[in-house]
């Protein structure tokens, strides 16, 4: 008798505890800054482990033409609502120039024609969105390394920041513009390119014309579209939200390794 009462009491308590933990508790916990800090520590561990486990030269798998996705999903911005951008788009980016600045010996201003005249790389790779889907596409562009070598990184440069034309934050000013950053290992990786062609055609606007970054060993949101300017910096903590990118400032990982 007392045993069965004990049992019922225990089960009720266990159910209540599971309910609190499962349904309410963790939700409340998500809002606690210290919980976020603890959870964020996993990103450092993941980054450290992947840096140790993955050889810097390891290439993302490249696929056959036959495996290219028939429909490559265009996510995020698909048509930047920016006057200067729209004017450039209207005349095929003929007067547009990519800026390379920041901690470089020789800042550059390069037209699309100049970029196309540089040695290029073509790769058929898988694009993994943070949402979970994957699409395969063929990208042709200038290796970022080529540009960085030409501009000459200063010794204290540690990150490369990409400033974009699209206002995904819909603030109507610089604070809402998309931006991203990568470390030097990814910046100099052979598959890291600024693509101006997709699937053999001029890069469409919905996929980031005139230039889209490809960082093949990271998730899709790292691969900024509508890249207007590249800056070499020593610190990302002082830029905008301080976490190194548009989505990062909204809570996503800077090291999008998984």
């Amino acid at each position: 008798m007392s045993n069965s009462l004990d049992r019922r009491f225990f089960l009720r308590r266990a159910a209540a505890l599971a309910g609190t933990l499962g349904l309410g508790g963790c939700d409340g916990l998500s809002d606690q800054p210290w919980v976020r800090r603890v959870l964020d520590s996993a990103e450092g561990l993941t980054r450290f482990t992947q840096t140790v486990l993955i050889p810097p030269s390891a290439l993302a798998r490249e696929y056959d033409e036959a495996e290219i996705s028939k429909e490559f999903k265009a996510n995020g911005s698909t048509n930047p609502d920016d006057e200067a951008y729209k004017a450039h788009a209207a005349n095929g980016f003929a007067d547009w120039k990519l800026g390379v600045s920041g901690l470089v010996e020789k800042p550059l201003e390069l037209s699309l024609a100049e970029l196309r005249a540089m040695p290029s790389r073509t790769q058929i790779t898988r694009h993994d969105c943070v949402e979970g889907w994957s699409c395969i596409g063929k990208w042709t562009g200038v290796p970022l390394k080529t540009l960085l070598d030409q501009a000459g990184l200063k010794a204290n440069a540690r990150y490369v920041v990409f400033r974009c034309a699209d206002d995904l934050g819909q603030t109507g000013d610089e604070d809402g513009k998309y931006y991203e950053s990568v470390g030097l290992e990814d910046a100099f990786h052979p598959q890291t390119i600024l693509a101006y062609e997709m699937n053999g055609n001029v890069l469409p606007i919905e996929h980031g014309a005139p230039l889209r970054l490809r960082v093949e060993r990271q998730l899709g949101y790292k691969m900024a579209k509508y890249v207007m300017r590249i800056e070499a910096v020593d610190e990302i903590a002082t830029i905008r939200g301080g976490r190194g990118g548009f989505w990062e400032d909204l809570g996503y990982e800077w090291y999008a390794g998984i």
Binding site: N3, D6, R7, F10, L11, A18, L21, G22, L23, G24, C26, D27, S30, R36, V38, L39, D40, S41, A42, E43, L45, T46, Q50, L53, I54, P55, A58, L59, A60, R61, Y63, E67, S69, E71, K73, R126, D128, C129, V130, E131, G132, W133, S134, C135, I136, E216, R217, Q218, L219, W247, L250, G251, Y252, E253, G257, I258
Partner: protein, 272 residues
């Protein structure tokens, strides 16, 4: 005169601690995993996503002038409006999602937070799992308690029929796991849970670059995602059956043995 009840020490401290830690970790991993799933509630095999023909999906679909939540399962389409795929109404606003937010972590759409929970707890799961595996192999727990003997395998049919009639062993027999338990625990600990880790890693573009074998063994990143989901379902099924067996085979004795280690063995029936 019947024999005395015997109290045996059934579970070592390492097993008890890693068991309960694992139970908590799996709950958080499941709920945050469903949050992540909800960001793209569709699955298919291969390298890339087939948006048109998913094998499994929970999506809103237009049917005439009505929007419905449709769950697709290997070609079958089931109306699950209100539960999977779509909830809400035209007046209150539709909510297109896979699983209901009551079972996700956090309990509303928040992919970045779901990922934070998932990856932190994934690390804890790996560490806890390693402790369990190292202990279990080093101490002989796997060989002594979990590996079935040849005789047990031969008599598996009898064990299945006893289970089906909810007849549980007493006396000497009750001191050991029976053959179905052994095989199930081995399957979960050595196959299902490691599979969760490997399919999880196969979804990492970085790990795929360093270890393309991850893509080859599972047949592509989207296959890995699908297997990750199905294996998670397998774990949920295991837990459901496990809890049921705990309930019907002496809940208090079972719980105590996993908390304090002590397990009461009822004497074997005297006749026969």
């Amino acid at each position: 005169m019947s024999e005395q009840q015997a109290v045996i020490y059934r579970h070592s401290l390492s097993i008890r601690v890693t068991h309960w830690v694992n139970a908590l970790l799996l709950l958080v991993l499941l709920m945050s995993g469903l949050q992540i799933f909800n960001a793209h509630p569709a699955l298919n095999f291969g390298s890339k996503t087939d948006f048109e023909q998913p094998l499994i999906a929970m999506e809103p679909m237009q049917h005439g002038d009505k929007v419905m939540g449709i769950t697709t399962l290997f070609g079958w389409q089931i109306d699950t409006t209100g539960v999977f795929g779509l909830a809400g109404s035209e007046d209150e606003g539709y909510d297109a999602r896979g699983f209901p937010w009551t079972v996700t972590l956090p309990g509303h759409r928040d992919l970045s937070m779901g990922r934070r929970w998932h990856f932190f707890f994934a690390w804890a799961f790996v560490i806890n799992g390693l402790i369990y595996l190292i202990y279990s192999f080093a101490s002989g727990h796997i060989r002594r308690d979990l590996a079935p003997t040849e005789a047990e395998i031969k008599h598996i049919g009898a064990s299945i029929s006893e289970h089906a009639r909810f007849k549980f062993p007493k006396g000497e027999e009750a001191k050991r796991y029976n053959v179905l338990q052994k095989l199930t625990y081995l399957l979960v600990a050595l196959v299902l849970l490691p599979l969760m880790l490997l399919t999880g890693l196969a979804m990492s573009p970085g790990m795929d670059a360093g270890y393309p074998i991850l893509l080859d063994i599972f047949g592509g990143r989207q296959s890995a995602r699908t297997i990750h989901f199905l294996a998670a379902g397998g774990i949920v099924l295991f837990v459901a059956v496990h809890l049921f067996m705990v309930l019907v085979s002496g809940v208090w004795n079972n719980l105590r043995s996993m908390i304090t280690g002590k397990y009461v063995v009822e004497p074997a029936e005297e006749t026969k």
